[in-house]
């Protein structure tokens, strides 16, 4: 592998990167939350994902596979000169499982944004992170300052384990988004020491 930890031939030290996933249904506020804390305007990249087909070998051609182009929005927080944190907004629908598989690999943790107007849009993400053992928190995004359900009701509706934090947030607000991130990292710290 061509990676290197310290090479005198580069302009600057090469930091290593960490990532946190921000999952939630369409319009739940993923990119808004990423933008609230990112040091760069959220960027968008396209990943061409090919879903596996069963009983089909590689020679039989692309027409038998489903190729999906998925747009990912992400932001960046420079932690220090050796660490950079990336926040990836990930589509919440179940049909993107195949992508979460790759995205969640090595992720520090995840924020599941719950939109109480359509709470069921975050079920798949909760299922996924629970099964994968990825530490996560649920952030209830308060649109227009209002939320339909209290955190305890959301916790109950999602059948969450008691140790999973559920917090209210305003995804547009930097301080509020920061608090969600801090809650997650503290949760990761707990799960490490547990």
């Amino acid at each position: 592998m061509a990676s290197t930890d310290s090479d005198p031939g580069t302009e600057a030290p090469v930091p290593s990167a960490l990532k946190i996933l921000v999952a939630g249904g369409f319009g739940a506020g993923k990119t808004t939350l990423v933008g609230a804390v990112s040091e760069i305007a959220p960027l968008s990249t396209e990943e061409v994902m090919t879903e596996a087909s069963y009983g089909v070998d590689d020679l039989s051609g692309v027409e038998s596979k489903t190729t999906t182009t998925v747009a990912l929005d992400f932001g960046r927080i420079t932690i220090n000169e050796s660490l950079v944190l990336y926040l990836f907004g990930t589509p919440g629908q179940e049909r993107f499982w195949f992508m979460w598989e790759e995205l969640s690999e090595g992720a520090l943790g995840a924020i599941v944004i719950a939109d109480t107007r359509r709470l069921e849009t975050c079920f798949a993400a909760v299922d996924f992170f629970e099964r994968r053992g990825v530490p996560f928190v649920v952030a209830v995004n308060c649109f227009e300052g209002a939320h339909l359900y209290e955190p305890d009701e959301v916790r109950e509706a999602l059948s969450l384990n008691p140790e999973i934090p559920v917090v209210l947030c305003d995804a547009r607000d930097r301080k509020s988004a920061k608090d969600v991130l801090l809650t997650l990292v503290n949760r990761v710290a707990e799960s490490v020491s547990a």
């Binding site: 990676s3 090469v14 930091p15 960490l18 499982w97 090595g106 359900y149 801090l182 710290a189």
Partner: protein
């Protein structure tokens, strides 16, 4: 943040309940749904057989004193080297140059093989994350 304002008569909707079993059914076979790199045109038909394993958040930087034979490279690769004078993740390169991640990986991989760039693999959170790293992340977020 006041809840329930819309329901002055006290009649409130019941939240939908997640099925805790969360059965994915037989379709759930993540091991088989790995990424399949399908680079095209600008990657000159090379596939992932000769590519270095790069992650979306592998951080790439151009090598400082490397001799660059501009004719041997794709124009996109020259743009990547330009962009990576400062450390950039694969995802950032993809976003800035508007080239899909899978293609960017192939182009960067070629630059790595030529010794024109260096990449640093992501911090692996799989093994327990060290306290120091977590504390650094907390401090970094606090400073925002």
């Amino acid at each position: 943040m006041q809840a329930h304002d819309e329901f002055p008569d006290g009649i409130r909707p019941v939240p939908p309940q997640r099925d805790v079993v969360g059965d994915y059914g037989e379709d759930f076979a993540p091991e088989e749904a790995g990424p399949l790199v399908r680079p095209y045109v600008i990657a000159q038909g090379r596939d992932h057989a000769d590519t270095v394993q790069l992650d979306m958040i592998s951080v790439v930087i151009a090598a400082k004193r490397a001799e660059v034979d501009e004719l041997a490279l794709e124009p996109e690769q020259l743009r990547i080297l330009e962009l990576c004078r400062k450390p950039q993740s694969v995802a950032e390169v993809s976003a800035h140059l508007d080239i899909p991640v899978a293609v960017v990986k192939v182009l960067i991989s070629d630059l790595l093989n030529r010794g024109l760039a260096l990449a640093r693999a992501p911090y692996k959170a799989k093994s327990p994350v060290s306290r120091d790293v977590l504390q650094a992340v907390l401090d970094g977020i606090h400073r925002l």
